[in-house]
Symmetry: C2
Subunit: 756 residues, 2 copies
């Protein structure tokens, strides 16, 4: 209720103030959130349905929805719209056809098949006929958000004369102060007749080119922070879209003009790309940031305006100042190129880089720890990091030492991994086939607070010959910077300094995922939320990881009680937040009401583990803990679910139904039962009489892990070096053709396996 009141109060009071600031022009997309005064220019391709000449209602409604939302956040929104001609054309055409058809129906019976033609409509007449309807529609739509609109029609002349410009300025200022959204259009009815344009069938188009420059002029005149120019092109391309090298330019800097060639005109209306860019640069020089984006793609339109204001990578952003570092696209290209050299090195050379990096960790530990101290202090000062997070953020001498030790292992293990021949076949006489291991390509690793991830992941990538993009958490920025410097120092040894790149922390994950042709594998290391977000955003790039770790322990009727107590305690309590911790304890029905059952419960109670009861257990007990809301839940804390099953088969079924194929354990002394469980259960890791916590690359003896995968392809369970490799096929012949092997050919396939 308060909100409505406020809105009305604002509209009757004189002026409102808020935290949004007016800046000259923004240097980075992320600053666009601060834009207070925003001009949204809607090209005719956005407002109309192209050739069909009616308005594109869905798009228009969505635009109104977004503009209203931003206005209600306290921003001052202005709309420069097209669409009056299209609206009027639709209206006049309908009227004319109707009158024609009635006339025809009245006068002639035999001329029914004669095609009726619509006269060429004058665009200015169309504009006049459509303006009122267009405004009525805007008003009806904005009313749904308690926002008033005002119609402002202008011509070029209104800007040429200082007096007139001041009038316009103060009118708009007044409207903005009253929380009204001005809707601005050229006063087409009174301008000179335009040149004919063949793009729009049957209608001579009014000089809508003016809407680009009109919006720019208006934005500068009104000291707007941001001009969003929506049309039917994605933005500015480096060369005409559709050509081999055409790339959408993310940020266009003043002075970049010579680097582009212009694309084609938009389908409806005048105002090709060149005119748009000219207007944009003009506005930029006047202190207004500009974004040119596509407002016609239905999938994007839903959010195009708010996405832009939130700093997402939509369209082309025009910026005054070129920032110091390379863009993330440039970084990816550098990484890939440098990575190809890294891949062509000898294994020993790659290992040398890793050895050197391991040495630097101890040699330069003061530098690392000083940076880490800074991060820790910042985190404590900010005060919003939980203590577990702080613990992960902090480094120590001993942590660095064991890190270095693990890296030594990786360097040693890597010696015979890349370029290993896994299969050799003599296909035919003088035709030999080899399958060899090769690096995957470019990896993107996203990790949260833990800075020790950086040298670990870098070592795995370097040892396996992969290029690497790293995106670390903001909390560890200082530590990560030093660690990355040391990594590049080590890479320089072999002239491949750029193979590991550190991505700026303000790059959004979803924007990185747009580099889909340039990144071969994404590895998220962090919370299951992070992994889920990335899997969602991945956009076709494979993601190696798991979003859930719902691990089970099944206690068989033949279990040894000591092992049960020991294993269950370790699995649940050693590190409850880990993905390989136990979440559900399944017990054989025969154990109910035995001393073993009591000892399990006693142990869990003494460890302060909160027990949730499964529905079957609840049905057996007179008094029992609260029933679990779901059997498919990762508690990640000192909590677990306890459920009863009748047999090992039922345990397997339960796990197939509610588990996440991560790690599941059977405790039994019966070898046959154990093997049944191990063979039939379809999980990445299946254990017998051991803690679930062993599901880990280091404990498995893989040296280190890039993550644990629950996917069914490529790599499964803890993933070490091997998961970062793929293979390629090399075939060496002597002029062989498949025709040689046809019925009329002279050769025959041997397919003889050769030793590798």
């Amino acid at each position: 209720m308060q909100k409505d009141t406020d809105q009305v109060l604002q509209s009757v009071s004189l002026c409102k103030y808020n935290n949004l600031v007016h800046a000259s022009s923004f240097a980075h997309r992320s600053e666009l959130r601060k834009a207070k005064r925003i001009v949204v220019k809607l090209g005719s391709a956005v407002v109309t349905r192209g050739d069909e000449c009616g308005l594109a209602l869905g798009r228009l409604a969505s635009i109104v929805e977004q503009v209203a939302m931003l206005q209600n956040q306290g921003r001052e929104m202005m709309i420069v719209t097209s669409g009056a001609v299209a609206f009027g054309k639709q209206r006049l055409r309908h009227e004319i056809l109707l009158s024609q058809s009635v006339r025809q129906a009245l006068h002639s019976g035999n001329s029914q098949h004669k095609e009726m033609s619509v006269p060429v409509l004058d665009a200015r007449a169309c504009a006049a006929a459509g303006q009122s309807g267009l405004m009525a529609l805007y008003e009806a739509m904005f009313t749904q958000y308690s926002i008033c609109t005002a119609q402002v029609l202008v011509t070029n002349l209104d800007f040429q004369n200082d007096k007139k410009r001041q009038n316009l300025n103060s009118t708009l200022q007044e409207l903005l102060c009253m929380n009204i959204v001005p809707i601005i259009n050229t006063n087409d009815a009174v301008v000179a007749p335009p040149e004919p344009n063949s793009d729009l069938q049957g209608v001579n188009v009014i000089s809508i080119k003016d809407n680009d420059s009109l919006a720019a002029r208006l934005a500068v005149e009104m000291k707007a922070d941001l001009l969003i120019a929506l049309s039917d092109v994605e933005g500015l391309y480096s060369s005409p879209p559709g050509t081999d090298d055409a790339k959408l330019i993310d940020i266009f800097y003043l002075g970049d003009q010579q680097s582009i060639t212009y694309g084609t005109k938009s389908r409806v209306g005048i105002g090709g790309m060149e005119a748009k860019v000219k207007a944009a640069l003009w506005a930029l020089e006047g202190g207004t940031s500009v974004i040119i984006a596509n407002g016609t793609n239905p999938k994007v339109t839903g959010q195009v305006i708010t996405d832009i204001v939130e700093g997402k990578k939509v369209g082309t952003f025009f910026s005054e100042l070129k920032p110091a570092g390379p863009s993330v696209e440039e970084q990816t290209i550098m990484a890939r190129n440098s990575g190809r050299i890294l891949a062509s090195l000898k294994p020993a050379q790659r290992s040398e880089i890793v050895f050197h990096l391991a040495e630097l960790l101890t040699e330069r530990k003061d530098e690392i720890l000083a940076a880490n101290k800074l991060d820790m202090e910042n985190a404590v000062r900010a005060g919003h990091l939980p203590s577990a997070m702080l613990k992960r953020l902090s480094l120590s001498s001993s942590k660095l030492n064991s890190l270095a030790k693990g890296m030594h292992q990786i360097a040693v293990a890597a010696q015979d991994q890349v370029g290993r021949v896994v299969r050799r076949t003599r296909v035919a006489q003088s035709l030999e086939l080899e399958q060899v291991t090769v690096p995957i390509g470019v990896l993107l690793v996203i990790f949260e607070a833990r800075p020790d991830c950086l040298p670990q992941v870098s070592s795995l990538a370097i040892a396996s010959g992969n290029a690497l993009l790293l995106k670390g958490g903001k909390e560890a920025a200082n530590t990560n910077r030093v660690l990355h410097q040391l990594t590049q120092e080590s890479l320089s040894l072999q002239g491949v300094r750029e193979a590991v790149q550190m991505v700026n922390t303000h790059e959004e994950v979803e924007d990185l995922c747009r580099l889909d042709k340039m990144i071969d594998l994404i590895i998220p290391r962090g919370s299951s939320q992070l992994v889920q977000d990335i899997q969602h955003a991945a956009n076709g790039i494979p993601v190696l990881g798991h979003s859930e770790g719902i691990c089970h322990i099944y206690v068989d009727s033949d279990a040894s009680v000591d092992k049960v107590i020991k294993i269950v305690r370790d699995s649940k309590c050693d590190y409850p937040a880990a993905c390989n911790a136990m979440e559900t304890l399944l017990i054989h029905r025969d154990i109910l009401r035995t001393p073993m059952f009591d000892r399990i419960i006693e142990m869990l109670r003494s460890e302060r583990v909160k027990i949730h009861s499964g529905p079957r257990l609840a049905s057996f007990m007179t008094f029992c803990p609260s029933v679990a809301r779901s059997l498919r839940r990762e508690y990640g804390d000192l909590e677990c679910c306890l459920e009863v099953v009748d047999s090992v088969l039922e345990a397997v079924e339960h796990i197939h139904k509610f588990g996440s194929s991560h790690t599941d354990v059977i405790i039994t002394e019966n070898k046959e039962t154990a093997e049944q469980f191990l063979q039939q259960l379809d999980s990445a890791c299946v254990f017998w009489n051991t803690s679930s916590r062993f599901a880990d690359g280091y404990r498995f003896g893989l040296g280190a892990e890039v993550g644990i995968s629950t996917a069914h392809i490529h790599a499964r369970g803890p993933v070490g070096l091997e998961g970062l490799l793929t293979t390629k096929w090399i075939l060496r012949g002597d002029g062989h053709t498949v025709a040689d092997f046809s019925e009329s050919g002279s050769m025959e396939y041997l397919h003889e396996n050769l030793p590798v």
Copy 2:
């Protein structure tokens, strides 16, 4: 122009006729395309923005867009709408607040902070105040599509009295005949005051429950073919959404009532799920098909109505007759369960199934060829299959024989693939780790015209212990049916008949991709368009395949001319439509203007290969063929691009930039140059002095292939049995915990590699 004329003519003429038919009720979603008369019911949650009480303009506009499109296809659309109350509430509240605030501003200076309250508005007053605005908005929107609307307000009484019902019926009939879209609402202003409802703050909700039954009654009264009821729930769930077992019901059959428990009410308005289902069943019994779906999800809304009419799986479809076979979900579950048994068989048992199937191919070849003859005849009769397609569709004795031979190879090769130990580690005393190969799970293979795919793919899946869903092309339906029967017959030998399922041809690929938790890998076999479509629709399920095969041959300066002629001819002309055919021929600059160059051109000309020139070649030649539009093009025909490079390095760069990482060849007599190419080029297959056409599972000696992968993970190049396997980790211990290995623990990691 003609279209507009027609529309207007239709609206002034008396009645229109078209091909759409009126059926009693449809048995399958695919028949919904035939629906002529459609009632769209918009619940209040769809039309309004929930608590905010204004209209959801974007959704409304999109709905109008879809309804208009369907109407303009010649269908007769009717809308039963909510929203008048919300519209009126927004309007009245605004008025009241405005008058209050003005009053307050006038009268008191010190009461500014006193909160103003909006009186509880009577829903009937809101409805009256909102009805006109709502209709005006509908009218403005439909006008954009040259469609007239009419307002029809009804009450329950209008249905109870025969006379009244006839009046209503004939009014609506008249409107439909005039191409007008009737917009129907309850006449809330004149009904009895409703019971209070706490869901909608401050407003007593009118008995909107009536809109569900109103729409059902109206649909039956008007003999509508389809009623689409949109609200804020996805459809009918088997149990309340959010619970572990809740599953959206795709098709609900008359008589299924007892199998569901009802979910919660929708947030705004009366009319919970139970009432919706009751109304739906009532309409169904009256001969109208019904779909209940979500109209509020912005991502889906864009197409929800047209998607439904096109037969896509949206919401819950109410059908009278349960079809004979199982649903695709049921098939997937059957396949997975049977597949788990298949996976637990001994390798020899799986091989036996494949051997048996191979035998059946020759034993029962008459049956197979008869079915194939039927398909061929149908195809020829339909006449739209190109001859290449017909060739692929046809089977022969010799084709079946060589198929059987390949399957024998698979059966033999499979013996030692599944359950193979690939790594064994002694982690610690009595703690042993094994990594063993296991099947991936459930495969979905989609293939086009070639029926010989079926036994081949089935054999690979069976031999590797995977469950399989097959979706073949309509053209081969008869052949596929027989081949699938034989496959199931062979599977029955080991009691796993259901492990290979054949999906009905009318299932859409995108609907299959929705089974994302149930399918582990999709393998498309067919045109690159098919693969691209599937990669696009895959919805997170990994896809094994390649969409493009842009293969290069690089002719080095040290090449032998005879080998060049032989290899280039084979690579381009042996089978130009294959993905491993050459698309671009790169030649070293030194070869230009040599006899070798002339011989290459001569050969290509004599083979009628159309040559497109690369830009560099064009710059070197006085006269040259037309310049290629793109260097990244798969011609798939007797066409190729010819370009010049300066060195092997430039060739590698060119291929990295324009290739598709499929198969690329170097022709040279210089071993060093060849090795440079083979090592540095990052493609799945890199060949030296052989035709690109060798990139094939059979030619590689893999027995058969499920496809060629250009992905960078899992499997690359031709994929045979191994690509259908993954691994799992088995750890066997004796009560080990990770705590035993901590600093205070008693154990130490050994990580000793054991022989496998």
